[in-house]
């Protein structure tokens, strides 16, 4: 893992607007085949997806050299996600070896980071860290998942990733608990420090932060849809 220099950011693609997102979702829906057996023809690896630099890229973003994987499958046997989904750790590492990068961009970030795979890996690969490296590549090449953008934006505005409800505020007061630090007047300075640091590491540009106004609009839209969080 090298922190010696900051990785170069690729030119940012313009963020898709909300309408664009909806249109994309509609298109995706239309493309989805009806439930039934897997269409093998569409799932064949032709080699076009192959990226010969993928292994090097994984190392650059802090993963280990996946070429030393023995394909023993220990990782898969202990992975809680492999047990419940078609995504098997061993196969995913094989895909890394062959450079099938783009496949990963269509899989949600479902590694729990439990590190059981690392415990049982005779080649000391640590698949969990390989997936972290792939996430680094994904956010630089295709964009940031919405839940990351929302979480980082909230932390920058609020210092923490959660906001208390009114009854929790009342409970804290009644119990004589310390006030939440981000309600104290001095906390503005802390938020200023976070902003400075995120600018310094160019994290603000990488994530494409959401403003308070945008977050408010999103929340209102979610509430209108009856989404329960």
């Amino acid at each position: 893992m090298s922190h010696g220099s900051l990785p170069e950011l690729p030119a940012k693609k313009p963020a898709a607007d909300k309408e664009g997102d909806e249109a994309a979702a509609a298109a995706k829906k239309a493309d989805t085949p009806p439930a039934g057996p897997l269409i093998v023809e569409d799932s064949v690896f032709t080699g076009e997806e192959h990226d010969p630099d993928f292994v090097k890229q994984i190392i650059r973003y802090g993963g280990k050299d996946v070429q030393t994987c023995l394909q023993c499958g220990n990782c898969t046997g202990v992975c809680p996600v492999s047990l419940k989904t078609p995504y098997k750790t061993r196969n995913l590492i094989k895909l890394c070896q062959y450079g099938y990068k783009r496949i990963f961009f269509s899989i949600p970030w479902i590694c729990a980071g439990c590190h059981r795979c690392h415990e049982h890996c005779p080649a000391d690969i640590n698949p969990a860290e390989v997936f972290v490296a792939i996430r680094h590549i994904e956010v630089r090449e295709t964009g940031v998942p919405r839940f990351i953008k929302e979480n980082v934006s909230l932390i920058l505005r609020n210092g923490f990733g959660a906001i208390p409800s009114d009854d929790i505020k009342r409970y804290r007061e009644k119990e004589g608990m310390d006030p939440l630090p981000n309600t104290l007047p001095g906390y503005k300075k802390v938020l200023g420090e976070l902003e400075t640091l995120f600018k310094k590491t160019r994290y603000d540009k990488l994530i494409g932060l959401e403003t308070e106004e945008e977050a408010g609009k999103r929340k209102a839209a979610e509430e209108a849809k009856g989404a329960v969080k």
Binding site: H3, L83, H136, I155, P181, V190, E193, L197
Partner: protein
């Protein structure tokens, strides 16, 4: 004992009873620790968010939190496995001089410098100075021990069968950070037994709760499917409650049981369990924010003359 509590995001804003229980059990009347207040902490920051997207930003943000305790002559004690894992990992990575220099270059923009260094190695654990990142479970186990804690118990929870859940990020990665044996950990079991209750063994005890790494946020169905296996093992041994040291595991066990519509088993943070055993009023422990009602468990305690 001088502790700077790092309560994080989930506990103060979702499970305030855990924060209150921790402050109460560490208070003068009970374990009598000196609590050093620090009001400039931020999110640890969360590994699935920050560590997944930019290792440098994660390390700089974590180092900023660590700098706040380095002159306080106090141990940083987390009540959450996520905060623990993120901050401890940061102290390890900052041992690398090159990384530390890059981080300090960024921190100088906000007038801060990180000075943590490896102080000693015991077994496979590294100890750092002056910043010591600890978890409440390990601090209670090491600094007080079973006998001292048992000595503070006013209402022994005798006859109760409890299933402990350590949670992945307390024990792994084990390379250097492990606080306890990752395969057969004892600390949480010991604390539960100090309360007078029995810690019951169950199948695949070290399995993941299902929520970690953003799974809960993105694919709740998958999170619940993972929890279901663990729940069934716990249900099979007839546990009265689940006890954990992590608010996110607590959240997941709580919510998954509601989503899966299963026979409810209450979930408690270890601080809340010890608070009950120490004779602290259950009404003060914030159980109203747990999704699985804790009342049936409290009734069992009352039937035994506790709470």
């Amino acid at each position: 004992m001088r502790y700077a509590l790092f309560v994080g995001c989930t506990i103060p804003n979702r499970f305030p009873g855990v924060e209150n229980a921790t402050r109460l059990i560490l208070g003068k009347e009970h374990l009598d620790a000196e609590l050093v207040p620090i009001n400039e902490f931020t999110c640890c920051p969360a590994l699935p968010t920050f560590y997944s997207t930019d290792r440098l930003t994660w390390l700089v943000t974590a180092a900023r939190n660590l700098v706040l305790v380095q002159d306080k002559n106090a141990d940083l004690v987390t009540l959450c496995n996520g905060c623990f894992s993120s901050l401890l990992k940061a102290t390890e990575e900052l041992e690398n001089v090159n990384k530390c220099n890059v981080v300090n270059e960024a921190l100088s923009a906000v007038g801060k410098q990180y000075r943590g260094r490896l102080a000693r190695v015991e077994g496979h654990r590294n100890f750092y100075e002056p910043v010591k990142v600890r978890h409440l479970i390990e601090a209670l186990y090491t600094d007080y021990g079973k006998e001292t804690i048992a000595g503070k118990v006013q209402h022994p929870l005798e006859g109760l069968r409890l299933a402990v859940h350590y949670g992945c990020h307390l024990l792994r990665p084990t390379t250097r950070t492990s606080v306890d044996d990752p395969v057969n950990p004892v600390m949480l079991d010991t604390l539960v037994e100090a309360s007078g209750a029995k810690s019951v063994d169950y199948n695949d005890k070290q399995a993941c709760c299902g929520a970690g790494g953003g799974i809960r946020l993105q694919v709740p169905k998958l999170a619940n499917a993972i929890t279901k296996d663990k729940y069934e093992s716990i249900h099979a041994v007839g546990a009265d409650a689940i006890v954990t040291g992590c608010p996110y595991c607590l959240f997941q066990f709580d919510h998954a049981q509601k989503d899966l519509k299963v026979h409810p088993i209450p979930v408690l943070h270890i601080s809340q369990l010890l608070a009950l055993a120490f004779g602290i009023d259950a009404e003060r422990l914030g159980f109203e924010w747990h999704f699985v009602a804790v009342r049936p468990f409290l009734k069992k305690l009352q039937a035994k003359g506790v709470a």
